[in-house]
Amino acid sequence: MEKKELYTTLFRSTFFLSMFTFGGGYVIVPLMEKKFVKELGWINEDEMLNLIAVGQSAPGPIAVNTSLLVGYRMAGVPGALVTVLGTILPPLVIMTVLAYIYMAVRDNAIVNNVLLGMQAGVAAIIVNVVYNMGKRIVQQKKVVPMIVMVAALVAGIVFQVNILWLLLVSALIGALTTLIEIVGKKDKGDAK
């Protein structure tokens, strides 16, 4: 395939996915998989799953991370830049326009009433997200994650501890438990 054609397809695919997909990363990623694995056939299923896993291990928006990895896989660093641009351009343009409309109409009585109603909706969406995520942690039935969750909640809300400290400590706990698990598996292997 010609380079120019490759870049164009990469840009167009990520741009349209970002432009017309509501609901953020968890909705975009499966559509990306469909596009690049099934429709274009550029990446095989297993490799795509690995790319998604890598994307979720890095900070930042999952949609950006995954599209970046697809671009990188297809055309190296320039490909990654093309797909990132394709992914961030639609929200950048849409939100810029919205920001100006918002500033112009925020004080309008009806707009204010609509936004006031939506506040309760947004609160419900977040509570629902937290409930679903929290349930998944509890269902693991592991002691350490539950202690981390409760401790972080108390530290964050009651003691207003800086978020970066909370993340750092829980990352260290995660690294330690993983190391202990790896060593534990090795010991078992040796015993056999």
Partner: protein
């Protein structure tokens, strides 16, 4: 230099939001409302509202929107670059190691370890949002007599629709928006 401050704030938000869109919320709250005082609680919720109704990642939406509010179009672009740059750097490093060793066990262990803390942090940001929606502010203690009854009803209906009928966020926004526009205009 407002552009540099914007860039650094959003770079930090991008660097530490592990686990997708909602994980950026507590960081946005801490950095933009409390540390910098660039946006109010009210604007924070409005940003979230608009993000739920527009396509694209929530962290990008929030960056573009607040950047614009704080320093115009250039501010929006700089904030968006700031929030994206950590991903661009870190994902490429991870990809390099992944393609080389086909193994990211420790990195994935760290991310697993972060997950319960991230849930707690989103819950904390959620509390701010919930209190603001119900009382108009999030300062503790709240006076239960000042609670917005319409808001409580909307909230309960929204939870019911999501749990029972799997309503999507955008449907919840449309229903509460239309209901708010009608009910608040007549009381």
């Amino acid at each position: 230099m407002i552009y540099l401050e914007l860039f650094l704030s959003f770079f930090q938000i991008g660097l530490f939001s592990f686990g997708g869109g909602y994980a950026a919320l507590p960081l946005i709250e801490q950095e933009l409302i409390h540390a910098q005082g660039w946006i109010t609680n009210q604007q924070f919720i409005d940003i979230l509202t608009l993000s739920e109704m527009t396509p694209g990642p929530i962290a990008i939406n929030a960056a573009t929107f607040s950047g614009n509010q704080i320093a115009g179009i250039a501010g929006g672009i700089i904030a968006t670059i700031g929030v994206t740059l950590p991903s661009v750097i870190i994902v490429q490093i991870l990809a390099y190691f992944y393609f080389k060793y086909q193994n990211l066990t420790i990195v994935q262990g760290v991310v697993q370890g972060l997950r319960p803390a991230v849930v707690a942090l989103i819950a904390s940001a959620g509390l701010t949002i919930f209190l603001t929606a119900m009382f108009g502010h999030s300062d503790w203690p709240v006076d239960i007599a000042n609670i917005n009854l319409v808001s409580i009803v909307f909230f309960s209906v929204a939870i019911f629709l999501m749990r029972k009928y799997k309503a999507s966020p955008i449907q919840v926004m449309l229903i509460t928006g239309v209901a708010g526009g009608i009910i608040y205009s007549f009381i």
